[in-house]
């Protein structure tokens, strides 16, 4: 019960407040002219960050040193190969999805293989793996830009009842991961491992199996994000995953999950993802140049983290 209570009590509230404040500041500036379209764009782009952020969150929950740096490369490879496989053929949409998931499974298994069998620290293991995966993507991409099947690109850019489809997908996945984390035995296990791997092992938790599953889920979610992102943007690009390295880690931390592991929450991922996109669009509407925009983004992130950290330590 304690884990459940802490998750509900506070840590994620900061990210939602920050997102709300940024939204209001942006809308005030535009005079409410584009509130609706801003909301839809925010939901769409935040959903991509949410999908990768959820996986990264589970990995980070495993405790200090656990982080998956292969997320961007997995996004790129799965986007590239899935589109290549489907080759604009609508009848291959589902098999294409399976290809993407298969890539995720492969990367996840390879990641944990390096971590467990070669006892390489996760940061370096996933980093080396990302080099290999990225190379594979470069090799298979060959500068070709294959369009997604029309139906699929219509789905990824479309809406249902005014809500972007991507956001619906993101929400569904979030509920699933929330259930895993907060309701299932697996969630208790990863939190326990994050709090003390030794105690978890002593308590008879299958530590290796749980960690293995976590890295696989993270890679599969990244692959899924790559599949959707490539369809959404009308083709795969070699740098399409690049921004999601920082993004996936940032949304976890801004969302109030403990960086040292053992205590994570799903709502914060949404709050932080909305916030991250809103900051960029706010700075855009204010008409700042690229340099100022980047700088302010960084300073705002740090400010939110400092604000959130005080709250945590006061607890």
């Amino acid at each position: 019960m304690t884990i459940f209570n802490t998750a509900l009590s506070k840590p994620w509230i900061w990210s939602w407040l920050a997102a709300l404040a940024t939204f209001v500041l942006t809308v005030l500036f535009t005079g409410g002219a584009s509130t609706f379209s801003l909301g839809q764009a925010t939901l769409t782009f935040a959903a991509f960050s949410v999908i990768v952020g959820l996986g990264q969150m589970l990995v980070i929950t495993l405790g200090p040193g656990n982080v998956d740096l292969s997320v961007p490369a997995t996004i790129t490879l799965s986007g590239t190969l899935a589109l290549k496989f489907m080759n604009t053929d609508a009848s291959l949409i589902l098999p294409g999805l399976l290809v993407a998931i298969g890539i995720g499974l492969g990367v996840g298994i390879a990641n944990y293989g390096l971590i467990k069998l070669l006892r390489i620290p996760p940061i370096i293991a996933t980093l080396s793996m990302s080099f290999l995966v990225q190379s594979l993507a470069i090799w298979s991409n060959r500068g070709l830009r294959i369009k997604p099947p029309d139906e699929l690109s219509a789905f990824t850019t479309g809406m249902t009842l005014g809500i972007p489809n991507i956001a619906v997908v993101g929400l569904t996945l979030s509920v699933a991961i929330w259930w895993l984390l907060d309701r299932s035995i697996y969630g208790r296990w990863i939190s326990a491992i994050g709090q003390s791997p030794f105690a978890a092992r002593m308590a008879g938790i299958p530590v290796d199996g749980t960690r293995f599953l976590t890295y696989v889920i993270c890679a599969v979610l990244a692959a899924l994000c790559g599949y959707l992102l490539a369809c959404f943007s009308g083709g795969a690009a070699l740098n399409m995953g690049a921004e999601y390295l920082l993004m996936s880690i940032a949304v976890v931390v801004i969302g109030g999950s403990a960086v040292a592991g053992g205590n994570s929450n799903v709502p914060g991922i949404w709050g932080a993802s909305l916030f991250m996109f809103l900051v960029v669009s706010m700075l855009n509407t204010y008409g700042f140049g690229a340099g100022i925009r980047l700088m302010l983004t960084g300073l705002i992130i740090i400010a939110v983290i400092i604000a959130a950290s005080r709250r945590v330590s006061a607890r």
Partner: protein, 310 residues
């Protein structure tokens, strides 16, 4: 004669052996590389990477991780290329302020007990933004003295190797021999006992970050000396390369166990891994992949050796 080999020696031995094996493989594939010019070309770009790796190592030594090194080196390179040739004093002033900012970042991280990964991640946006402000499009130029220093013709041994050696030795003296270095590694090992011994952990951490910033600035300057111009994205991959170099060189993420000489060797190995593949005539598509593979192989070797030791 019997030499007792400690764990620390094995730590250093593996990166050295890996480097030697790679070097032999390169020579075998391309005998012309076995010359003054060849070696210089092979290792030229290793100098800034080695400096960045030392910078990363100093942060890792206090159990933190710096994800902003790539953008910070790019920023330093932009400042060097824009201000150093015409107004060197202004350039030096900006870089000094940047190093102070680095020290300040270390202070915030310690005082607020913030995760270094996230703060440096946020700072990477800040440095990236500043670099774009200073140099919106690729350009600038290297100051003459820097250019001539980086392309200096040292007798017999190529400059790139001399420079790497000097970097390694200086870093070794700072981190392994000086009082400050011992304190820095001590904070990584057991911060509480360091503070019980009457040291200020805050000061030590600030010093480690400041030193790290200083080495990153040197990396940026060395890079401009080699490439003669800069752009805001020039060194982004240094973040990951520097982390890999530290680990490859026998460092560990926690416990203050780092090896400056190993880190330099690690940086050289990573640089060479790229050249090795191009000599194998494998398409450049696989260059990054090769670096990943080399990392995995070397770390796998380390496991075998450490098991034998145990």
């Amino acid at each position: 004669m019997k030499i007792k080999i400690s764990a620390d020696h094995i730590r250093l031995l593996i990166p050295l052996v890996s480097l030697a094996v790679l070097l032999v493989a390169v020579f075998w594939l391309q005998p012309r590389a076995m010359s003054y010019l060849g070696l210089n070309l092979l290792f030229n770009l290793a100098v800034p990477i080695a400096l960045a790796t030392i910078a990363q190592m100093l942060v890792i030594a206090v159990n933190d991780l710096d994800l902003s090194i790539g953008t910070f080196v790019s920023f330093a390179a932009c400042v060097t290329a824009v201000y150093m040739p015409s107004t060197p004093l202004l350039g030096i002033f900006i870089l000094a302020v940047a190093i102070a900012a680095y020290a300040f970042m270390g202070m915030i991280i310690h005082l607020r007990d913030l995760p270094s990964i996230v703060v440096t991640l946020g700072m990477s946006f800040v440095w990236g933004g500043l670099a774009v402000l200073i140099l919106p499009s690729p350009g600038g130029q290297a100051p003459v003295w820097l250019r001539s220093m980086m392309t200096a013709q040292t007798p017999i041994i190529p400059f790139a190797i001399v420079a790497s050696l000097v970097i390694g030795i200086v870093a070794h003296l700072i981190v392994m021999k000086s009082t400050l270095g011992v304190a820095i590694r001590g904070v990584g090992g057991n911060a509480r006992s360091v503070s019980r011994a009457g040291w200020s952990v805050l000061r030590i951490k600030v010093a480690a970050y400041a030193l790290s910033g200083f080495f990153s600035v040197l990396a940026g300057m060395a890079l401009v000396g080699l490439t003669t111009s800069a752009d805001a994205n020039i060194a982004l991959r240094y973040t990951l390369l520097s982390i890999a170099g530290v680990i490859l060189g026998g460092g560990e993420f926690v416990g203050g166990r780092v090896s400056p000489i190993g880190a330099v060797v690690g940086a050289l190995t990573l640089t060479l891994a790229g050249s090795f593949l191009s000599f194998l005539r494998i398409s450049p598509d696989w260059q990054i992949g090769a670096q990943g593979a080399v990392l995995i192989v070397v770390l796998g070797l380390r496991l075998i050796f450490s098991r034998r030791e145990a």
